[in-house]
Symmetry: C2
Subunit: 246 residues, 2 copies
DNA sequence: CAAGCCGTTTAAATCAGATAAATGTGATTT
DNA sequence: AAATCACATTTATCTGATTTAAACGGCTTG
């Protein structure tokens, strides 16, 4: 019980005590601090963090809502298996990334993107409105400016990809904005390290054109090319790439 | 055994007052009961539902964690725009479906599936373990039994699709099990109504074979065919297919 | 008139302490 | 051996008070 550092971390992301505790416990769970151990009772948790039981209970309830905990009388509060965590929750995503850089996680992110984004582009080519296309175009223009050093490379790239998601006019696709921006923020650092090259504006323009011209197949292929590129980079960087036996 | 699925929806929802209130308010928000109106204060909510403020606060906190609400002193609690709802949360998904049958929602579900599942099948063909393949195969066998009236058609179909998601060995894909099973439960009713035919076992077997043989492209195409089929059915049933302006 | 300052006020946030309900565990009874 | 009961433990719930955050309006000041 001594190993748990209750570093209150000063003036961090917690708007208030409850959110601060949510963040602290959430991170601890994701990092694996409670893996073998039994999870503290709400009274113990409150004492450890120096807050009232109300704050503790509300933080625990939020973590329950995100799939990280479950609670029953007499049995106590227990950490749920990772399979029941809500991985598309912004907080969970953040905690997952904060624990450490993992090529595995980066690969899984992009394996998801390669499913979502090409199809989003294809959808967009069918149903995007002029406003949607304008937003995609705006993202592209920012990328062009970034190429000349007049804007931020990463942020403009993110803006482009999110604009495409929105242009699909399907709320489920739009939901991936956090995953995609997170993946891009992480990927960029990695790809820049492996291969010093910026995002290819021309390749992105192909996606924009296909969407604007209402060509779903071309949009899908163009977007897929963009992400496959990153994915291959990641997989070549990982020597233990299975292939064993299969 | 009556052949019906596990049907007792009752017990889980209202395990206690907090979860009951979570469900009631969540449904009310999704249905749109609070759309124009101002959201009640926690004191008012407590009184309206006949529970204490603690229960109310915990329910509100869970809804906040799911992206449906946000709260600040003096401003009060407010319903968040749908864009910030966590659509992949099981509860949100359920509330969304409970409000009414919507072809739009059904279409959006399947537009997502057509991105996720083919790619999951392709991944599975590359990385699935023998256990994974066995699970996929078990799902298929259940479908065969169902064809002979010895098992439940819907449940076996769901088992198959979820097995493929798991076989991708990517936790993000596995996360879609709720969306997929929900979509299937809804789709089946619809497709059966429109076109009296059961899921095609042979087409599903093609997916299984491609995965077992380690052929990603074939697996992707076979799975895509399955879902495109449903999607087309849905789109033909919807006369107002946009095209306006484009 | 505009901009900044400052109480007032309202709602959430937090605390404290008590009671209720659920549920494993183990002893007791049948 | 099985069913039952008593008990301990932990979450669930209730109550009422206090504190803090922030929107509002009025006031002062440049």
């Amino acid at each position: 019980m001594s190993g748990l550092g209750i570093e209150d971390a000063g003036p961090q992301l917690g708007r208030n005590l409850t959110y601060g505790m949510l963040d602290a416990i959430g991170r601890a769970i994701v990092v694996g601090d409670y893996d073998g151990a039994i999870f503290p009772t709400e009274a113990e948790l409150a004492k450890q963090h120096g807050v009232s039981r109300s704050v503790t209970r509300e933080a625990v309830k939020m973590l329950t809502a995100k799939g990280l905990l479950s609670a029953r009388p007499r049995q106590g509060t227990i950490v749920q298996p990772t399979t029941s965590w809500n991985l598309f929750d912004t907080d969970v995503l953040r905690w997952l990334l904060e624990r450490q850089f993992s090529i595995d996680l980066l690969r899984q992110f992009n394996e998801l993107r390669v499913a979502i984004e090409p199809e989003a582009a294809a959808l967009a080519a069918r149903v995007a409105t002029v406003d949607d296309i304008e937003r995609v175009n705006a993202g592209l223009k920012r990328m062009e400016r970034a190429e000349r050093g007049e804007d931020d490379t990463l942020e403009s790239d993110i803006a482009f990809h999110i604009a495409v998601l929105r242009a699909s006019r399907n709320p489920f696709y739009a939901q991936f904005r956090d995953v995609v921006s997170t993946a891009l923020r992480t990927s960029i650092r990695f790809t820049n390290r492996v291969k010093g090259r910026t995002a290819n504006v021309a390749d992105h323009a192909a996606v924009r054109d296909a969407i604007a011209n209402g060509n779903p197949d071309k949009a899908r292929k163009a977007m897929r090319a963009l992400i496959s590129d990153v994915l291959e980079l990641i997989e070549t960087a990982k020597p233990d790439g299975a292939a064993a036996g299969r």
